[in-house]
Symmetry: C3
Subunit: 211 residues, 3 copies
């Protein structure tokens, strides 16, 4: 076309994609970390921290662009929400990595690796969905998928809480300080799963308005 | 009718009323649950869970309608907030019911029944207020009432925390794992009371704008 | 001037200034409280509570004015966010003061006084920034300053968590109930630091839009 009266800023899409790919890389590092020997974890946590810094830069870039762009490709408020919720995901994952090292946790409950596995799948689905935002195509299966992953995360979380606070008869109970540490880790991982769902819900609400 | 210049979608009001009536039913079930023998609680928690599913469906119906309606009876953002905050109330109540069963809690602190009693009163007030949204009449006493119930809930919550973490001299202290479990329950119930206040604050802000 | 086409309501600025000055006064009281003998704390906590009531009144005044003002000096949503986030700061500080007394905490970890010191500095910076909102001048250094204070608060918080949950070899560990109490206090103080950052981020987003 010769000219455009509404010069939609398309530069947001690559930024959202970069944010999500960075999250996927961080989720893989977190999976390595929970599978690693305690002595190997500090270095992996430092790399998750680096990914969080990268994420902060992308978020900042989106916010600056948002404040300077007159006509945005979709609602300003939705761009803000999407960027914030992607940022939240990485904050939670970084916090989980950091606390595992800080608390000098030795053996983690088995369910923790499963929680992180769900996060990896949610991260991969999110990274795949972001480039589709521009054409608003095939996003429906993405948010349905992430919502079902969140249900899976909820069930894992609930089982972990039960094991920690009301261990089955015959199992050796952990000392209460260890319960406190483990509980905090599983809660932070659950927050990360919730944050992925918030990302998906934001995408859904954007897509429905555009349809 | 031939045509309408402002085709206000009135269908939101019955949905908000249904959401609030469902919450009131769930609050009554929760009251039954905390008064029941431990063995009878799982079945009641399952019924609270059912109510939560019903609530999710109503929330979803509101959101779909919101995205498809061009002229809404009040601010889109306020409709979104009202639906979300009603949804939050029920999520908290369901979580409280679930955790009491999951943690195999035996005797609950007495204050817990009082917390749930406040929730029942807040739920009844909310269910009564929703049908009045259409005419924006007599809502003032509703939000003042819910705010005072929240103050009552705060005081109960604070007393419960004090009893749990700094029990009076001469009382037998609970073991710390039990403290952890009870603390989580009373916190979730406090979140439910806060969520009712958020509903009331949203209604207040809608009513003030319309006045 | 004879008339104004855009009758901007300027009365918001003094209200934001009052809110922030009240917060600064409360932060000073909180610093006194954590430095005081346990027996002297209840009276100081009561004065923090008074400050919180004063803050609630200012917040309410802002919200009423917001709902009644047709042309606001900046985005309605931003005024709402700024007022709410100032309110949140004081709620957290009041809760910290209250819990220290309620839990009959004796010796607080040293880092707690440092956390409160950071809050005092953030409060002073916020009180100094609010009057500059009208001319939108020299706000950039304010939000950069508060963001760096938040980093400082994060580091203190993290160290405190480490000391509480994974005390260094050779130190006498606290009993777990005391760990629970201290952990709650340091978390609430961290929430207060986060709330100051939310205030600063809101100011940033307002200033960038206006520039």
């Amino acid at each position: 076309m010769a000219f455009r009266l509404t010069p939609h800023e398309r530069g947001f899409y690559p930024l959202f994609t970069r944010a999500a790919e960075n999250i996927a890389a961080a989720a893989d590092l977190l999976a390595e970390l929970v599978a690693a020997e305690p002595a190997a974890r500090a270095e992996l946590a430092a790399r998750v921290k680096d990914a969080e810094h990268t994420g902060d830069e992308v978020t900042h870039e989106i916010m600056v662009k948002l404040n300077r762009t007159f006509v945005t490709p979709f609602d300003r408020e939705d761009i803000y929400r999407l960027a914030s919720s992607l940022d939240d995901v990485l904050d939670e994952m970084e916090e989980a990595a950091d606390r595992i090292v800080l608390y000098r946790i030795d053996a983690l409950p088995k369910g923790v690796a499963q929680q992180v596995g769900v996060l990896q799948r949610a991260a991969a689905a999110t990274a795949e969905a972001m480039p589709k935002l521009e054409k608003m195509a095939k996003l429906r299966e993405y948010w349905i998928h992430v919502n079902s992953l969140e249900d899976e995360a909820d069930a894992l979380y609930r089982d972990l809480l039960g094991d920690l606070l009301a261990p089955a008869e015959g199992t050796t109970p952990l000392d209460v300080l260890t319960v406190l540490k483990h509980k905090e880790i599983v809660e932070i991982l659950e927050n990360a799963a919730d944050a992925f769902e918030t990302v998906a819900n934001t995408v859904e609400s954007i897509a429905v308005k555009e349809s």
